[in-house]
């Protein structure tokens, strides 16, 4: 049975919210909040319906021809569902957060409008059924994110926006060229029809290799692979919810997700393996992992450090999919989710510190654990997860990565993992130490840079709630990784499909 309207509806929830928000007047923040939140909840419900239907073996396909040889296709598969689930969950969380974060600041209408567009494009990326559709939403994402990056409108934000565009538009163009070339080569290929490329035979291998690299460059810009990462740390000037979403689901993840699609659903892992590109991918990922960690060490401000950490962490996904074998696949896919949860938590925390106490630099964090215990706890959870310590979700990813590396005969990747864990510890644990064990303004020493009392608790409830929720989720998906419908479960399902025809 084919129920095409469900994915369309899922997409439409956030897509149609955007004009609605644009239509509402700037001052109607209550109405806007209601619209936003109800759409977010509705979307979660729809995604849940999709998951349910998917597990019952239903097909959800919606498509029409756009031009000759290229069609708009939405379809639902496990990978897409995972990403859609992540994006819808974090949309809700981030919307709540953003409502609190942007209280009384100008241009909220614009912010939320583009925010919804951004999420809609993420959903589109998740549900896209072929490269053409993927590309559509990928570019839409670039567009809808730009106003968010430059939201503050000061010189630094605008400069960051410029850099962001230079990278992403060029990347998008390269991707477009690659996709068109692929279409010229084999025509419209829906995700999952891997045999189409493999059937071309060894004669086409050089061409396929070149195309793969072109597509990889196009996607690698958003995935912030070294040396295409330059935009990410500068995009930090955006408001915290934007950074959170950018790093956790939207932009960076879209790139990583695209690489996953490219490797698994367009080329097929066996073909990529045969082309000998997996090693290259693993090498790029490893370099990125280490590079990001080393750069993070020398950052003195919280958000840039987190940004470099993202560069490093997202490459875990790439590393995972470059490990030939089910475990590598699981690792890559599951980290897609896990990194999202953990990073979003960290960015929420950074935002909380900035909003409540005016903290931007790391050395201002001394003793913040006493002033803001829940936020600091959430930060600790996120940090431990990033290091890859149980029971936080990061451990699960790392575990599968390691096993995948061994099984793919790339045991050297374990050294990368261990080194990265140590480096992560080296730049996260000092922060945790500062939070809890140093004495600061909360102990009567010095003053917070700009303290405000935003709420009854340590900070505004709007800010605290999503932070705590995502932190809790980060622990739960790690601790209860074995239960059905967990990210790990979905990823395992995916991997089985991939490797057991």
């Amino acid at each position: 049975m084919s129920q095409g309207w469900l994915p369309v509806l899922t997409l439409a929830t956030s897509l149609l919210v955007a004009p609605l928000i644009f239509a509402l007047p700037e001052r109607a923040w209550r109405a806007r909040a209601v619209v936003n939140l109800s759409a977010a909840v509705l979307k979660i419900l729809l995604v849940a319906l999709l998951v349910l239907g998917f597990y019952q073996g239903r097909d959800f396909v919606f498509g029409f021809t756009v031009v000759e040889g290229a069609s708009f296709l939405l379809q639902v598969d496990a990978l897409g569902l995972m990403f859609a689930g992540l994006s819808s969950l974090l949309w809700l969380a981030t919307t709540i957060y953003a409502i609190g974060y942007l209280e009384d600041s100008p241009n909220r209408k614009r912010f939320f409008g583009f925010f919804s567009l951004c999420v809609a494009s993420t959903a589109g990326i998740a549900l896209a059924g072929n490269l053409f559709t993927f590309l559509l939403f990928y570019e839409l994402l670039t567009l809808s994110t730009y106003p968010l990056v430059v939201h503050r409108g000061h010189a630094k934000a605008l400069a960051a926006g410029k850099v962001y565009l230079r990278y992403t538009v060029t990347g998008g163009l390269v991707l477009l060229l690659g996709v068109v070339a692929l279409y010229a080569l084999v025509g419209d290929v829906a995700f999952g029809q891997r045999e189409r490329l493999a059937d071309l035979g060894p004669d086409a291998y050089p061409l396929l290799t070149v195309l793969f690299l072109v597509l990889l460059v196009g996607l690698g810009v958003k995935a912030a692979l070294v040396p295409l990462h330059g935009w990410l740390p500068r995009a930090m000037v955006a408001p915290a919810p934007v950074s959170a979403l950018l790093h956790a689901v939207a932009v960076v993840k879209a790139g990583a997700f695209g690489i996953v699609r490219l490797v698994y659903d367009v080329y097929g892992i066996s073909l990529v393996h045969e082309l000998g590109l997996l090693t290259l991918l693993a090498a790029i990922a490893s370099v990125t992992i280490l590079f990001g960690s080393i750069r993070a060490l020398s950052q003195q401000e919280l958000k840039p450090r987190l940004a470099y950490s993202t560069i490093s962490q997202v490459s875990y996904i790439v590393l995972g999919i470059s490990l030939f074998g089910p475990f590598g696949t699981i690792a890559g896919l599951v980290h897609l989710m896990h990194q999202g949860l953990m990073k979003v938590t960290l960015f929420y925390c950074a935002g909380n510190y900035a909003e409540e106490l005016g903290i931007h630099r790391i050395d201002e964090l001394d003793g913040a654990g006493r002033r803001m215990p829940l936020t600091s706890l959430a930060f600790t959870v996120g940090a431990l997860g990033m290091i890859g310590l149980p029971p936080v979700a990061g451990f699960i990813s790392k575990w599968y990565l390691g096993i995948g590396a061994v099984q793919a005969d790339m045991s050297w990747a374990i050294a990368v993992l261990a080194a990265s864990s140590l480096l992560n510890a080296a730049y996260f644990l000092p922060i945790v130490h500062r939070l809890w064990f140093r004495q600061g303004p909360a102990h009567g020493r010095g003053r917070w840079p700009e303290e405000r009392h935003l709420g009854r608790f340590e900070t505004s409830t709007w800010l605290l709630l999503p932070t705590a929720a995502t932190a809790l989720f980060s622990i739960l998906v790690g601790l209860l990784a074995g239960v059905p419908f967990s990210p790990l479960d979905l990823a395992t399902f995916m991997a089985t499909v991939e490797y057991l025809p």
Binding site: G230, F291, I294, R295, A296, L297, S298, Q299, F327, R370, P373, L384, G388, L389, P390, P391, F395, I396, K398, W399, L401, G402, I403, G404, A405, V406, Q407, S411, I414, A415, L417, A418, A419, S421, L422, L423, A425, A426, L429, W436, F437, Q439, H443, G444, G478, L479, L480, A481, G482, V483, L488
Partner: protein, 597 residues
């Protein structure tokens, strides 16, 4: 009844949660209601009770939770029972002791000292968390849970180590955490590598996997070194003498008594000990040698220390070295291992309880109870002598080991261990001497928690062979064995007597100790690490400045290019003037094009 297993782990967490909530609520209600807050209450103390109960529960228990991480499997079998028992017991005693030891701080906190309150809050919350990690480590059969337990214990204990928050505490904490993390890294790498090679999810499978794996030696090496950080393998031991003196005494006791045993337990759980086909004999020999070097080296380094807890820490390193060499036998001579397991466990239990009692003793000698001095000295010396192998549990453990090794090809190890025991004796003698020199005024009531815990610990330590369920009967040394067992202690005592005499006659303290501060190699490591860290930071900075340079160059080039583009306007003017000729030129060009084809 299998539910008991989760309860054992949950109870400390609940205790922690309760404590946290209470604290949060008190904070919410306002600052003047702090007096109502009772820190380190009985509820807090009860955290290890279910574990103790479980250890005494007859029969094996196992609980499997497929949803837990990658599939949870917790077990209580006969091999785990002794570890659980002495661990829980020591945690219980230490908790009791702590209620007395930290009484001053509790009072201060009650009076509104924010710093004391902060420290106590940390202690209140992290103590049960560390305990939970430790218990999980013992009970877990699946690797993730095991690792989770290990990590939780390691990280949570950091808060206990730096309890005092002064410079030394921070140094101790730093040494502790840095080495622990390096250890974690190696453990993780080893676990991933070995588990990956056979998709193992439980520790039993893991041992088999390492035995079978092609590069099992390297996996085992990683695991040995990783756990060796905790178990004080020489070279990686430097955190012990730095962390122990600064930690509160009850924390030192559990640290040295139970937590470092986590490392030993890690070895036992992950190394394919006693597995016949494993080609790990060479590694086993390395472990034996490293263990013995540790045993001797620590003794030599320890006797010149001034702080009694540092001396005791070195003693732990020494004892753990002995234990390590026994574990090494398990790899080098797999056949001997089955007989050796029970003695090793007994030795571990003995060391744990005895070292706990000794650490309690340090606190006791600082605040002696109102007891006759001779009695105090005797009670302090009893575990000390036991540790030297002269009395009670130490004697029995040693005899047991000797008996087990007798048949194997490593019987000569016994003599080495005996020599090391001389060192142990010297160390405890030194520790006692330093304690005596630093003793405080008697005044602690006998029925205070501190005293009672200490007394109970001394007794329990002495009687370890009687109550530790080893699964097989302990080999009690016969009378004829005694000379062979007792000479090291006697020699050690004699040597310490001589040293005491020399000290009395001479100028008192050795000056050497000022040249060799506790932590020996740490200072070298620290220098190295500082250099490495600054190197990394510099590298990061260099990357950044390179990036900035590159960016600046690109920006400059961009500006130049833009300037050049702006200069293009003059061509525009030319186009404007030449529009008609250009059109004709275009027509000509096209004519040429048509002509060409």
């Amino acid at each position: 009844m299998n539910l008991l297993l989760p309860v054992v782990l949950l109870w400390p967490l609940l205790v922690m949660l309760y404590g946290g909530l209470r604290l949060a609520l008190v904070k919410q209600e306002g600052r003047n209601s702090r007096s109502r807050l009772e820190l380190l209450g009985v509820g807090w103390w009860s955290a290890p009770l279910p574990a103790l109960l479980l250890a005494l529960w007859p029969g094996e228990l196992s609980v499997s939770m497929p949803g837990w991480m990658l599939g949870g499997l917790w077990q209580l079998d006969e091999a785990r029972r002794p570890w659980l028992l002495f661990g829980a017991l020591l945690w219980l005693l230490a908790g009791w002791y702590a209620r007395g030891y930290l009484a001053d701080e509790r009072r201060q906190a009650g009076e509104g000292d924010a710093n004391a309150l902060g420290r106590l809050m940390g202690f209140t919350l992290l103590w049960p968390l560390t305990l939970a990690g430790n218990l999980l480590l013992i009970l877990a059969e699946d690797i993730p849970s095991f690792y989770l337990g290990f990590v939780t214990m390691t990280l949570a204990a950091y808060g206990l180590v730096i309890h005092r928050r002064d410079r030394e505490a921070k140094l101790g904490g730093l040494a502790y955490i840095v080495l622990a993390l390096i250890g974690e890294g190696m453990i993780l790498a080893g676990l991933l590598w070995s588990a990956g090679s056979a998709e193992a999810l439980t520790l039993t499978e893991l041992r088999v996997a390492i035995g079978d794996a092609e590069r099992g030696v390297w996996m085992a090496t990683l695991l040995w070194l990783g756990f060796g950080v905790k178990a004080g393998v020489i070279g990686l031991h430097v955190w012990l003498p730095l962390a122990h003196p600064v930690a509160p005494t009850p924390a030192s006791a559990v640290l040295s008594g139970v937590m470092v045993k986590g490392g030993v337990l890690g070895w036992l759980s992950t190394l394919p000990l006693g597995s016949g086909e494993a080609g790990l004999a060479r590694l086993g020999e390395v472990i034996i040698v490293a263990g013995l070097v540790g045993a001797f080296g620590a003794a030599l380094l320890g006797v010149i220390q001034r702080h009694p807890k540092a001396v005791l820490a070195y003693s732990s390193v020494s004892q753990l070295g002995m234990l390590a060499s026994l574990v090494g036998v398990g790899l080098a001579a797999p056949d001997a291992w089955p007989a050796l397991l029970a003695p090793v466990t007994l030795f571990a239990g003995h060391h744990g309880m005895t070292k706990g009692a000794l650490f309690f003793g340090v606190g006791i000698s600082e605040h002696p109870p109102r007891l006759p001095a001779w009695l105090i000295v005797t009670l302090l010396a009893l575990p000390a002598l036991s540790l030297g192998g002269a009395l009670t549990s130490g004697l029995i453990a040693k005899g047991f080991i000797k008996e087990a090794l007798k048949e194997s090809e490593y019987s000569s190890l016994v003599s080495w261990l005996s020599v090391a025991a001389v060192g142990s004796t010297l160390l405890v003698a030194r520790a006692l001497w330093r304690q005596w020199r630093r003793r405080g005024e008697p005044g602690t009531p006998l029925r205070s928690p501190m005293c009672l815990a200490w007394l109970f610990a001394v007794l329990a330590a002495a009687a370890v062979p009687l109550w530790l369920p080893l699964g097989e009967s302990v080999h009690w040394p016969t009378l004829s064995d005694l000379p062979g067992l007792l000479w090291p202690a006697a020699l050690g005592l004699g040597l310490s007597g001589l040293a005491l005499l020399a000290a009395k006659l001479g100028e008192g303290e050795w000056k050497l100790s000022s040249h060799l501060p506790p932590g020996d190699l740490w200072w070298g490591y620290a220098a190295l690490a500082r250099r490495m860290r600054s190197g990394l930071v510099t590298a990061g900075g260099m990357l950044e400045s390179r990036g900035l340079q590159l960016r600046a160059r690109l920006v400059a080039r961009e500006h130049r290019a833009i300037a050049r583009l702006d200069g293009l306007a003059r061509y525009e003017r030319r186009f404007s003037r030449l529009a008609v000729p250009l059109m004709i030129g275009l027509a000509l060009l096209l004519l040429l094009g048509f002509w060409l084809g």
